[in-house]
């Protein structure tokens, strides 16, 4: 008689705990609403810290939805004028030195972008989390002084690069402050730590984040957003191959 009673009490407690957590899908929707925009224009600085040297790359970036993106590197001198265009599943790079537009595909997509801890594949990832992942809130914790939900995301499709993701999401700002990205095998591949945030209109956005490829030596890549504008009008030609050579 005692056993069923204990089981009942435990079940009620578990149900109570689950009820205290928000629905994973709803929370992911709020994160997407905060992070995604119809268009975006940003100037960014990428500080790549390798075993050998630290390099700073500055670029202008434009994006439209989650499928189109365009970048132009402004410095250093060796990279100045290099442009990248993403249109859906295609990625092209233009190099002013050779005056060539080259499509990146296959194994090259797994290569690092400009020596950073990010790969071309990362750039190609679908940014709409709700589309790519099912989610569940598994706990809560205080991270860097902010109350966060701990979320576990599981990929909806096999072709998603990171099959499992763990997020610490700011409870009030719906901004992921920490990410762990896992392979299908369960191996931790990358981490992301937001170091500084900024408010742009009603959104909270990462100002400075450290990306770390956990399979590589080095101190990681610091990604800084110098300036950003959301939902701005962008010229249509910018997301075309012709824009690469301009």
């Amino acid at each position: 008689m005692i056993k069923p009673v204990i089981l009942l009490i435990l079940s009620l407690l578990a149900a109570q705990l689950c009820a205290a957590y928000p629905d994973g899908g709803d929370l992911l929707g709020k994160i997407d609403k905060n992070m995604l925009s119809s268009t975006m224009k940003a100037k960014t600085t990428m500080i790549v810290q390798t075993r050998r040297a630290t390099r700073t790359l500055v670029s202008n970036n434009w994006s439209q939805g989650s499928q189109k993106a365009f970048s132009e590197y402004l410095s250093p001198a060796r990279e100045k004028g290099t442009k990248m265009l993403r249109d859906g599943d295609n990625l092209w790079i233009y190099d002013p030195g050779t005056d060539r537009v080259i499509q990146i595909s296959g194994n090259m997509l797994k290569q690092s972008v400009m020596g950073s801890d990010l790969s071309y594949e990362d750039m190609m990832e679908e940014t709409n989390l709700q589309k790519s992942y099912s989610s569940q809130v598994t706990g809560e914790k205080v991270y860097e002084g902010r109350d966060c939900w701990i979320m576990q995301l599981n990929a909806r499709k096999a072709d998603v690069t990171y099959q499992k993701v763990v997020l610490y999401v700011d409870k009030k700002r719906f901004l992921p402050l920490y990410e762990e990205l896992y392979a299908k095998s369960g191996k931790l591949l990358k981490t992301m730590r937001v170091q500084e945030v900024m408010q742009v209109g009603s959104r909270w956005y990462p100002k400075k984040a450290l990306y770390k490829d956990e399979l590589k030596d080095g101190k990681g890549t610091l990604f800084i957003i110098n300036s950003v504008q959301f939902d701005v009008k962008l010229p249509a030609h910018i997301f075309t191959k012709a824009a690469l050579k301009k």
Partner: protein, 421 residues
């Protein structure tokens, strides 16, 4: 005595032909096998020394930790004075820079758009140094076109050239990762194609001048590895290990990019492989001695039975047992020498044939990264031939020594009774 034994050997062929044939067959196999294995080892050592290891090489400590990955971003840059110092410290050693790199080769169409792409394995060498061209036997390996003369010229493997539908004169773009990990692009003109007969390089190889690669990879005065070759061009493990000890003691440092010297045997498990090959050779010789020894022991016993009367008569006439035993051993020695000479002669003929024509392993080596020539030639080394003859003589001696023991069991008192019977 020797003349008498030799006459006996040829006149009484029924007692000599079987042991001579056995020894000859064994020596033939041993001589040929040792020559083939030696040819294989030499091919492997020279191919590795040419393309991958040098007789010795200097790399950074960080690079050495990931040697198989060939991480050029952990290699040397801005070297100048250091190389001169190495040359002073170890005079006679020929140092030459190498850079190994991977890249994407992009072939444009008439409008400059990507027509074909392929991954390439790049090897950058000092093409202005004629000894490097000679070491790599680049002129022999050239299939089409000519060697690079300009900084923006490269050679592609003939396989890759065909696969991409290119011909000498074609313009291509290389896309890779610089020393600092950033993207690097460079346009090149294909000036020719090569085939080394080494599948690992012929599949997707590219050869560029060291300065072109330095510019492409942003490595001024850089190299991923510095190869060293001994004077005379022949690998000497003892000498290399001595240089290694001296160099590493002199340049030992906590700096992760400090130079460290590696011997050929430290790389690609070649040290273990050489040890294994030596063990295999010793095993072949040992097995040969034991097996042929047992066979000849048996032949000696049969011979003893056949010559039972002869031995009895000689003992009865007063010949000592020791003398008779020594006679038998001498007979065996002569048999062994004749058999070995015959086997070695046949072996040399076989070795000469395969030294000229070789064994073609092209099909077997397809899709492997094994650093060995597609055609293996037997080695013409008298040491190997002698090594084959020695077990032949040893085996006959062993057989005679064992079979002859029976002589000491004969009783003089029974000899006449045996003879009367």
């Amino acid at each position: 005595m020797l003349k008498f034994i030799l006459i006996g050997l040829f006149r009484d062929r029924s007692r000599s032909i079987f042991p001579v044939l056995i020894v000859a067959a064994g020596v033939l196999v041993t001589v040929f096998m040792s020559s083939y294995l030696n040819g294989f080892i030499q091919s492997m050592l020279s191919q590795n020394a040419r393309f991958d290891t040098g007789h010795l090489k200097i790399v950074t400590k960080a690079y050495a930790e990931n040697l198989s990955l060939k991480p050029y971003d952990l290699g040397f840059i801005n070297l100048g004075g250091e190389v001169e110092q190495w040359k002073k410290d170890f005079p006679g050693i020929r140092w030459t820079p190498r850079i190994y790199f991977g890249a994407l080769l992009d072939v444009p169409d008439a409008e400059g758009q990507t027509r074909e792409q392929g991954n390439v394995f790049g090897l950058a060498v000092d093409l202005e140094d004629s000894s490097v061209v000679r070491d790599l036997r680049l002129n022999d390996a050239l299939v089409q076109g000519r060697l690079p003369r300009q900084k923006n010229e490269i050679l592609l493997s003939e396989t890759l050239l065909q696969k991409l539908g290119l011909s000498p004169g074609a313009e291509v773009t290389l896309l890779g990762s610089s020393f600092y990990g950033t993207m690097s692009f460079a346009n090149f003109r294909v000036c020719g194609s090569f085939s080394f007969g080494v599948e690992a390089i012929d599949r997707s190889g590219l050869i560029a001048g060291i300065n072109a690669a330095r510019a492409f990879l942003d490595m001024p005065e850089g190299a991923s590895e510095y190869f060293g070759y001994l004077p005379g061009g022949v690998y000497d493990n003892e000498q290399v290990l001595q240089i290694k000890q001296q160099f590493n003691a002199r340049y030992s440092s906590q700096d992760e990019f400090a130079p460290v010297l590696l011997a050929l045997t430290d790389q690609n498990d070649l040290g273990y492989l050489l040890l294994y090959m030596k063990f295999a050779m010793a095993l072949i010789s040992f097995v040969f001695v034991v097996i042929i020894g047992i066979v000849l022991w048996n032949a000696g016993l049969l011979n003893g039975i056949r010559r039972y009367g002869e031995f009895g008569l000689r003992l009865a006439l007063g010949e000592s047992k020791k003398h008779l035993y020594a006679w038998l051993v001498m007979e065996a020695l002569v048999t062994g020498l004749v058999g070995s000479a015959l086997g070695a002669g046949l072996g040399i003929l076989a070795i000469l044939y395969f030294h000229a024509h070789g064994f073609n392993f092209t099909t077997l080596l397809r899709d492997t990264s094994f650093m060995v020539e597609n055609v293996i030639y037997t080695s013409l080394d008298w040491k190997n031939i002698l090594l084959g003859i020695l077990p032949g003589v040893l085996a006959t001696l062993l057989g005679a020594l064992l079979a002859g023991i029976g002589i000491f069991k004969r009783r003089t008192s029974q000899l006449f009774q045996e003879l009367e019977a």
